[in-house]
């Protein structure tokens, strides 16, 4: 392709007012041919505000429409566009080219996930593990008996109780933490920092009554005890969630050091 630059070519150039960057995109199509993987290089113009996702979409629009990428909101809310950018898991829509300080930007599919094509990976295991930890408030149906039709029942919570878990509620399920986790790289059955942090989000919620069933899921030979506390999950989270801390709090709770809301008897 005439517009593709040679690999490794430094191309962050000043051409008039517009600069260009070399975007190296990992290409593979395991469903079609699992043996062929490689990189295609593209020279892409960029501005101060251009994100990596913008650059990839520019490639799709003008240079090679066959590049496969998943994205949606473009504002770090949906968690769809996670990928390895210069070797680190990041959201493409939340990473400006300018802040990478590199003339070559390499984008690859997220590690620890099966590749569907190019930059798109399968999130089945992420969502399955997420579902497994029962990510919802577990309450008794009988609590609603006697509540007149059309009326709402409230489960009040103090600001202090909210503080126990609120940062973990910011998770957007982008999978960056799982991609950065060294345990996930070797243990395919490990629940992963995303699911474990979400388990703490509900264990720490004073309104929840499902601790016992949730703790049974994570108290497994591939559950919470396999975390090595590398902390890389917390380093890469684009929403400032600290999954490593959630895992340690949950471990402390299971070892009897408190933590969690400890309120299975809440009325």
């Amino acid at each position: 392709m005439a517009l593709q630059a040679a690999a490794g070519q430094a191309s962050a150039q000043q051409t008039g007012t517009q600069r260009t960057i070399t975007l190296r995109i990992a290409r593979s199509n395991p469903a079609h041919d699992s043996s062929t993987t490689g990189f295609d290089d593209f020279d892409v113009p960029y501005e101060k505000w251009t994100t990596v996702l913008d650059a990839i979409l520019e490639v799709k629009k003008s240079l090679d429409h066959s590049v496969a990428v998943r994205y949606s909101c473009r504002q770090a809310t949906c968690g769809s566009c996670g990928m390895m950018i210069n070797g680190r898991p990041r959201l493409a829509c939340f990473t400006k080219i300018d802040e990478l300080n590199s003339s070559v930007i390499t984008v690859e599919p997220l590690q620890n996930f099966p590749v569907i094509r190019d930059l798109a990976v399968g999130f089945d295991s992420l969502f399955e593990n997420h579902r497994e930890v029962r990510p919802y408030l577990d309450r008794e149906n009988t609590e609603l008996e006697g509540v007149p039709d059309g009326e709402l029942k409230e489960y009040p919570q103090s600001p202090e109780e909210l503080e126990q878990y609120i940062q973990f509620a910011n998770c957007i399920k982008c999978g960056l933490c799982n991609a950065a986790c060294p345990t996930m790289a070797t243990d395919s059955s490990f629940l992963g920092p995303q699911a474990l942090a979400q388990a703490y989000r509900y264990v720490g919620d004073s309104r929840d009554k499902g601790k016992d069933s949730r703790l049974k899921v994570i108290d497994d030979s591939h559950g919470i005890w396999r975390c090595h506390f590398a902390g890389s999950c917390s380093q890469v989270c684009p929403k400032g969630v600290d999954p490593a801390m959630g895992i340690q709090l949950l471990r402390g709770y299971m070892l009897g050091f408190g933590g969690g809301s400890g309120n299975n008897n809440q009325k």
Binding site: S188, D219, S221
Partner: protein, 120 residues
Amino acid sequence: MATAILRESTIMKIHYGTALAAVALVAVHVLMRLTSGGFAASLEYETVLANYRFLPYALMLEIILVLLSIHGFNGLRVILLELRQGPRYEKAVSYGCLAAMFALIAYGSRTIIMTNMGMV
């Protein structure tokens, strides 16, 4: 596998507990080596036999053997479980580590008991 009998949190409590206890007892063991006429002298054949024949010390060595065997083989189990997955493999690893742990404890205990009773 061991987790069918014990929950993983119970196993890990034992893992951490044995580590803490072993650190304390090994510290006593090392200090006694250093304070009983110097390190080199403490390793002489007759001194070692005397240690084994001193019942409280032999008991401490037996406890250290049990603690380190439990801690070490559970650590090995955890490492092996992370390397590969699968029900049959995991069962083999768990039972294998358990068997190796009992074998080591039995062999070590045999040495301690025989020496303590003057059979060596």
